[in-house]
């Protein structure tokens, strides 16, 4: 056996949600090939067949306990477009507020609970930041871990005022929302936002005011901010950045360099008669496809979505199809055959661009484009950092996620200002047959639902989650999926504890649990575990 081939077998990697196997080939301590396999099939699309048209409002939030509000948002808008409803402005605002509350919750929860505890891994014990990292971020006992995880429950109190509980409410319905918030719901929501800002965002995360942070528009601005005061450099953001660079998180995890976002937050006065085709021009946060190779932006169109089951555990033919044409036929023998079928996830593709990466990094790169309308949201920072840092990486991907605190917080404030308490929250719709599509951006990326209602029941329901984009297997053209590609080049310092693989998976905030099998890069044969030769 070649002296430079290392072998490891990790099963499972936790702190991603669900069950995923990843096979990697490693040579000279670096990942040279990778295959991702989703390992849990629950069949939600099959359960929804022939059910009540509104069944998706009950079932799909329960597809994901982390992104339930995002699923509900999609399910409601999908029915709105299918039924041709009218949605009052208050209801659009209330839905947006619910979506945003869930996303705000996820920032500290994912950051401390899932991502940063890896900085306390012994792999980094020689870093000058290590001692401080353990003090702050050690699981359960770290000072900032405890505060960060506990305070992550506050934003969803706002969700509970609208929907009764988080997770798993169904308060968004075709024609609006079930709630009609009162003044005290609004004032209490303001108080929660203030508490969150003055107890976590400013003192712990930024070390400065949100207003000061908002002045950062470029890579140079960010670097100047970092050096400006010790409070900035020593904030959790400053520490994350400096330690991340010190341990090399800016050096791997690049990925496919092609990105997708559906955009989200329909404008309260522009999407009251929702249609599939009208959505791109009605959303505050623009949709897009960003192609890093040539630096171009364009809008994302749902009609361009394709699902390719060539390497997935379904028997639905070789042709990539639009989700409306999916039939969801699982094969019962889900053995790994890496030349054929090896995942429950389909390869989700753009008809022109192939595989695309979804997530906060994708959103933020798209906010830097010039393809959107003047009134739509834009922010040049992440695209500028991407250009200055030579593209994507684990560090930039996670930074982009945490940077969203700014937009999310301000949009929530705007929602609270815009609600008009004496106006309607619901206009009862007429149930009818039709095709619908609803989309949003869950915190971890592009999410959408397609529904076809026929004869007063669901004929076809299809969900494409952010992780479906990211964790998809190879396409029929043998292009790797985004996480597969991002794993290429990942250094593995200690094969008995390959935390770097975890960094990549967790930077995507994958909705799966990972297992990593290592194989001889030359022969493809699975080698015995934990032996280096």
């Amino acid at each position: 056996m070649s002296a430079n081939v290392q072998t490891l077998d990790i099963s499972p990697v936790g702190r991603v949600e669900g069950d995923l196997d990843v096979r990697v080939d490693i040579e000279d301590g670096v990942v040279t090939n990778a295959w991702t396999s989703a390992e849990l099939f629950r069949g939600f699309e099959i359960i929804l067949r022939d059910k009540d048209p509104q069944a998706g409002l009950v079932v799909t939030p329960r597809a994901c306990g982390i992104c339930g509000a995002s699923h509900l948002t999609c399910a409601a808008w999908a029915l709105d477009t299918a039924w041709g409803t009218e949605v009052p402005r208050n209801a659009i605002i209330a839905r947006n507020l619910g979506q945003l509350a869930e996303s705000l919750q996820s920032l500290p929860r994912h950051h401390y609970g899932l991502f940063m505890i890896d900085m306390t891994n012994k792999n980094y014990k020689n870093s000058p930041f290590y001692e401080e990292a353990v003090k702050r971020w050690a699981p359960f006992t770290g000072t900032n871990y405890e505060l960060g995880v506990t305070i992550s429950g506050r934003p969803v109190e706002i969700y509970a005022m609208l929907g009764g509980q988080w997770p798993h409410s169904s308060f968004m319905v075709p024609g609006g929302v079930m709630c009609s918030p009162t003044l005290t719901d609004v004032t209490r929501s303001w108080s929660i936002l203030e508490h969150f800002r003055t107890n976590w965002i400013e003192p712990m995360w930024l070390g400065c005011s949100l207003e000061r942070y908002e002045e950062i528009k470029s890579y140079d601005d960010f670097m100047a901010w970092l050096d400006e005061k010790p409070e900035h450099a020593n904030s959790d953001l400053g520490m994350m950045w400096r330690m991340g660079c010190d341990v090399g998180l800016d050096k791997f995890g690049k990925g496919l360099d092609k990105f997708v976002s559906w955009g989200y937050l329909p404008h309260q006065d522009k999407y009251n008669k929702p249609t599939i085709d009208g959505r791109n021009k009605a959303i505050q946060m623009p949709s897009g496809v960003f192609d890093g190779a040539n630096g171009t932006h364009k809008h994302m169109d749902q009609a361009m979505t394709r699902e390719d089951t060539t390497h997935a555990w379904y028997e639905e033919g070789a042709e990539a199809v639009h989700p409306f044409d999916r039939t969801t036929k699982p094969i019962s023998n889900n053995e790994h055959d890496f030349d054929k079928n090896y995942s429950w996830s389909t390869a989700t593709l753009h008809a022109e661009n192939g595989h695309l990466e979804a997530g906060p990094l994708a959103r933020e790169l798209i906010y830097g484009g010039n393809h959107m309308e003047d009134w739509q949201y834009s922010d040049p920072l992440i695209l500028d950092m991407y250009k200055n840092m030579g593209g994507a990486s684990v560090l930039l991907r996670h930074f982009a996620r945490m940077h969203e605190v700014k937009a999310i917080y301000r949009k929530m404030e705007q929602c609270l200002r815009d609600l008009k308490l004496d106006e309607p929250f619901y206009i009862k719709p007429k149930e009818q047959d039709g095709q619908g599509w609803g989309a949003t951006e869950a915190i971890r990326g592009a999410l959408c639902h397609w529904i076809e209602v026929e004869g007063g029941k669901i004929k076809n329901y299809q969900i494409i989650a952010p992780t479906t984009w990211n964790v998809g297997p190879r396409s029929s053209e043998e292009e790797r999926g985004p996480i597969e590609e991002a794993l290429i080049g990942t250094p593995i310092a200690d094969p008995t504890d390959p935390v770097e693989v975890g960094h990549v998976a967790r930077s995507f905030d994958s909705c799966l649990v990972c297992t990593v099998h290592a194989h001889d890069a030359k022969t493809g044969k699975e080698l015995s575990r934990f032996k280096t030769s």
């Binding site: 629950r42 359960i47 009540d52 994901c64 509970a160 609208l162 009764g164 997770p167 019962s332």
Partner: protein
């Protein structure tokens, strides 16, 4: 000191996310104040790969004493009883579950999926899913009706989609502080302390229920959700209006009908066309009446209620 191992089968992580909303005690307090040793948890565990397998194997061998095994999600049996559609740490999850349940002092099924099968077990149950000791109302489930943890209790069922964080943390604290003997379980093995009363107990719409004043469509500022919008609050056992959600509200308070998610039949009527958010009636009388009320009694009660109804009850009450 109590060792806890928490795994997920056919799950959505919703119970884990709900658990992380806990405040008294918080997830961190459980560790730092109550001496809970969380051996591993899918969303929180530090170890990965073979270090996780070692924990599992040490529990099975007895090298680590497994005090409490918490399971979230269904037991997936497909395809053909092999469980290969849900693999974990290199083998079907159901095989780990069987062996870990046999060595645990207490087994806690957390959320509807683990208790009765929940959403994944909804017809046609494509993953051949079961709860740990029930499938819907049928006792048995994956472990069989006779199963008991080593401490002598059957599976402790904490249902809900998801379960409220306090329902979990309080039971864990009770076990860890030696008060497991005080746990009284109902016929579905739910702790009575939480599941004897009804979802309606403490609902802010009780006066409207009493006068039979309906919320006839969503987002109205008055009325009870039972009569038209399919609310199952009077027939569902849960403390949702005694122990509020996220500290502030409940579904029925916010205007969302109770879906009955702490009961084995959830989702009711298998979500058949016409059943979602609509009260099912026969000749104008709800098919499912408040627990213990018969049809004759209901007609008398609502007749009298309507007659007694004060004018204010039809006006907005949850006002700006």
């Amino acid at each position: 000191m109590a060792n806890i191992l928490w795994l997920q089968g056919g799950a959505c992580s919703g119970n884990t996310m709900s658990f992380l909303n806990a405040e008294e005690p918080s997830a961190c307090d459980l560790v730092t104040d109550f001496g809970m040793n969380i051996l591993w948890q899918p969303s929180l565990g530090v170890e990965l790969g073979d270090n996780v397998k070692k924990i599992l194997k040490d529990c099975l061998s007895g090298a680590i004493k497994l005090d409490i095994f918490v399971f979230e999600g269904t037991v997936v049996n497909a395809p053909n009883g092999t469980g290969e559609w849900n693999r974990f740490a290199g083998r079907p999850m159901k095989d780990w579950v069987r062996e870990l349940c046999d060595v645990a002092d207490f087994v806690v099924a957390l959320g509807d999926c683990a208790t009765w099968g929940g959403i994944p077990a909804t017809a046609p149950n494509p993953t051949d899913s079961q709860g740990l000791q029930f499938l819907k109302r049928d006792n048995g489930g994956f472990l069989g009706a006779d199963f008991k943890g080593k401490a002598g209790l059957p599976v402790i069922n904490i249902p809900g989609c998801p379960a409220h964080p306090d329902w979990v943390t309080q039971i864990l604290v009770a076990i860890a502080t030696g008060r497991a003997g005080d746990l009284a379980l109902d016929e579905f093995q739910r702790p009575k302390t939480f599941f004897q009363s009804f979802t309606q107990t403490g609902c802010t719409r009780n006066m409207h229920f009493a006068y039979k004043v309906s919320t006839t469509e969503f987002a109205q500022r008055k009325g009870c959700l039972f009569y038209d919008l399919g609310c199952r609050g009077p027939m569902t056992h849960s403390p949702c209006n005694r122990i509020l959600w996220n500290r502030v509200s409940s579904k029925t308070r916010a205007g969302m009908p109770c879906l009955g998610c702490t009961e084995p039949e959830f989702p009711f009527f298998d979500l058949a066309p016409g059943t979602v958010f609509k009260t099912q009636t026969v000749m104008g009388i709800p098919k499912d009446l408040p627990t213990g009320v018969d049809k004759k009694g209901y007609i008398k009660l609502t007749g009298a209620a309507k007659a007694a109804m004060p004018a204010w009850a039809e006006e907005d009450i949850f006002v700006v």
